[in-house]
C-alpha cells in the first residue's frame, strides 16, 4: 500500500484546534471529515479508536494533535452524514463507512458475478478473510459492515443468510 498523502491543511497548526467561529469551523469540519473518509479508505480502516495516536489525528512534524473533544465532534459529524456509527455509548470507538452499506452490497454482488458463485454458500469469515477473496476489495472487510451488506442483499432477495455457531460463521447462499 502506497503511503497516504495528506492534504496541505494537515500541516497547518490551527486546523488541529476546533475553531470557535462558526463559518470557519464549518469549513474546517468539512475538510477533516473528507480526510477521515479518504484516509480510512486508503488504509482500509473500519474502526477508529478515539484515543489512539493515529497519523490521522496526530501530526508529529508540526507537534500538533486533535484533542478528544475535537475528534468526537468530527466523528459526530460523520455520524450525522450517515458515514459513521459509534460502537459504544462512551464514544470511544467508531465504525467508519467510507463505503456505504449499499456500496458494499454492490461489491459483494460484483464478486459473486465475476467468480460465478451463484448457488454457492460461504461464511462471513470466508467472504472477508478467505483465500478466495484475497486480492479483491472484500479482503479485510470488517465483519460487522459485511454482515449489514449481506442483510441488505437478503432484503433484496439476492442472498439467503443462515446463522452459524458464531457471527463469523454466518452463512450466506447466493441465489
Amino acid at each position: 500500500m502506497s503511503s497516504f498523502v495528506f492534504p496541505y491543511f494537515h500541516n497547518y497548526p490551527p486546523y488541529f484546534t476546533l475553531q470557535p467561529v462558526k463559518e470557519t469551523r464549518d469549513k474546517q469540519v468539512a475538510l477533516w471529515c473528507s480526510l477521515i473518509l479518504q484516509y480510512c479508505q486508503h488504509t482500509k480502516t473500519f474502526v477508529l479508536d478515539v484515543q489512539g495516536d493515529s497519523a490521522l489525528f496526530v501530526n508529529k512534524g508540526i507537534n500538533r494533535k486533535l484533542n478528544t473533544e475535537a475528534r468526537v465532534a468530527l466523528l459526530d459529524e460523520l455520524v450525522v452524514q450517515g458515514r459513521a456509527e459509534w460502537m459504544d455509548k462512551g464514544k470511544t470507538r467508531c465504525l467508519i463507512f467510507w463505503k456505504r452499506v449499499d456500496e458494499w452490497a454492490a461489491v459483494v454482488t460484483d464478486f459473486v458475478r465475476t467468480y460465478g458463485l451463484s448457488d454457492s454458500v460461504m461464511t462471513v469469515d470466508e467472504l472477508s478473510n478467505g483465500d478466495d477473496v484475497r486480492g479483491t476489495e472484500l479482503y479485510g472487510l470488517h465483519p460487522e459492515v459485511l454482515t449489514r451488506a449481506l442483510k441488505l442483499l437478503e432484503a433484496q432477495g439476492k442472498v439467503r443468510t443462515f446463522k452459524g455457531a458464531t457471527p463469523e460463521e454466518l452463512g450466506v447462499k447466493f441465489v
Binding site: 496541505y8 497547518y12 490551527p14 488541529f16 470557535p20 467561529v21 463559518e23 470557519t24 469549513k27 494533535k65
Partner: protein, 274 residues
C-alpha cells in the same frame, strides 16, 4: 506706427489694437487647429499601433505592461470604457472583464479559509490555474489592474499593503490601523499571540486581545491552542505559505470540480459565506 495727435490719433490707436487682437485670435485659432489635427493624427496612429500589436499585447505580459506605461505617459487610459475604440481595437474590455471574473472566483473559492485576504502571488497562481495551461498567461500587473477595476463593484474588493507586501481583500469591513498592525506583526512567521503583538506594537494586552479576536471573528485569523507552552496563537492563512496553500488547494479543487462539471462562464462558488 506713430501716434498722431488728437482724436484721429486715438481712433487710429484703437483700430490698430483691434487689428492686432483679431490677428492674434487668428494665430491662436490656427495654432489650436493645428494642435487638434496633430492630436487626431497621433491618436489614430496610436489606435493603429494597438490594432497591429493586439496579438502581442494579449500574449505577452511584459509587452502589455510596457504598453500600459506608454499609454499612461501620454494620458490615455485604454481601459477607460468598454465601448471605446480602444476596447474594440484591443479587445481589452473583454480581456480585463474576464480576468476580473476569474479574480472574483478565485477569491470566493478560498474565502472561507483565509477570511477574504490573499497574497498577490497566491492569487496569481490561483487565477492562472483557473485559466488553464492553454490560456494566455497573466502577470501580477494584470491582476492588479483587474482588481482596481473591480473596486467599482463595491463588495470590498481592493488592494491592501501590509508590511510592504501586496494582498487582495475581497470582503468589506475595515482593515483599520490596529488590525493592519496585527497583520504586520504576524507577517514574519504567519502567526502571533496576544503577548507578542502587545510587545511589538507597544499596546496593552487588552488592546492586542481585542484586535486579534476581531480578526478571528472576521475569519482572517484561526486560533491554535496546541502550542507547547499553552499560549493561544493566532494564525493568518493569508500570510503563511502553508495556510495560503491550504486555501489555494481548496480553490484549485473547486476550479477542477467546476471544469469537470463542464464550466464555461462563472460558476456558483462553494459555500456562500453568510
Amino acid at each position: 506706427m506713430r501716434r498722431g495727435p488728437g482724436i484721429a490719433g486715438l481712433q487710429h490707436a484703437v483700430r490698430t489694437k483691434e487689428q492686432y487682437k483679431v490677428a492674434g485670435e487668428e494665430v491662436k485659432k490656427n495654432t489650436l487647429q493645428a494642435m487638434h489635427e496633430q492630436l487626431a493624427a497621433f491618436r489614430s496612429n496610436l489606435e493603429e499601433f494597438a490594432r497591429k500589436y493586439r496579438a502581442d499585447v494579449r500574449r505577452d505580459p511584459v509587452f502589455r505592461a510596457q504598453f500600459h506605461t506608454m499609454c499612461a505617459n501620454i494620458g490615455v487610459d485604454p481601459l477607460a470604457s468598454n465601448k471605446s475604440l480602444w476596447a474594440s481595437a484591443l479587445g481589452f474590455g473583454d480581456y480585463y472583464y474576464e480576468l476580473g471574473v476569474q479574480v472574483v472566483e478565485a477569491c470566493l473559492a478560498s474565502r472561507s479559509l483565509n477570511g477574504g485576504m490573499m497574497e498577490l502571488p497566491g492569487l496569481l497562481r490561483a487565477v492562472n490555474r483557473r485559466r488553464g495551461a492553454a490560456a494566455e498567461p497573466v502577470s501580477e500587473d494584470d491582476v492588479v489592474r483587474a482588481i482596481k477595476k473591480l473596486r467599482v463593484l463595491g463588495g470590498g474588493f481592493d488592494l491592501v499593503t501590509i508590511g510592504g507586501r501586496g494582498y487582495v481583500r475581497s470582503v468589506p469591513g475595515e482593515l483599520n490601523l490596529d488590525k493592519n498592525r496585527a497583520l504586520e506583526a504576524a507577517q514574519a512567521r504567519g502567526y502571533t499571540s496576544v503577548a507578542e503583538l502587545a510587545a511589538a506594537a507597544g499596546w496593552t494586552a487588552g488592546r492586542a486581545d481585542e484586535t486579534l479576536q476581531a480578526l478571528t471573528r472576521e475569519g482572517l485569523a484561526w486560533v491554535d491552542d496546541g502550542a507547547p507552552d499553552g499560549a493561544r496563537l493566532y494564525w493568518f492563512p493569508c500570510l503563511s505559505s502553508a495556510g495560503g496553500s491550504a486555501a489555494e488547494e481548496q480553490a484549485a479543487a473547486a476550479a477542477a470540480a467546476a471544469a469537470a462539471a463542464g464550466g464555461g462562464g462563472p460558476e456558483q462558488s462553494s459555500p456562500a459565506p453568510g
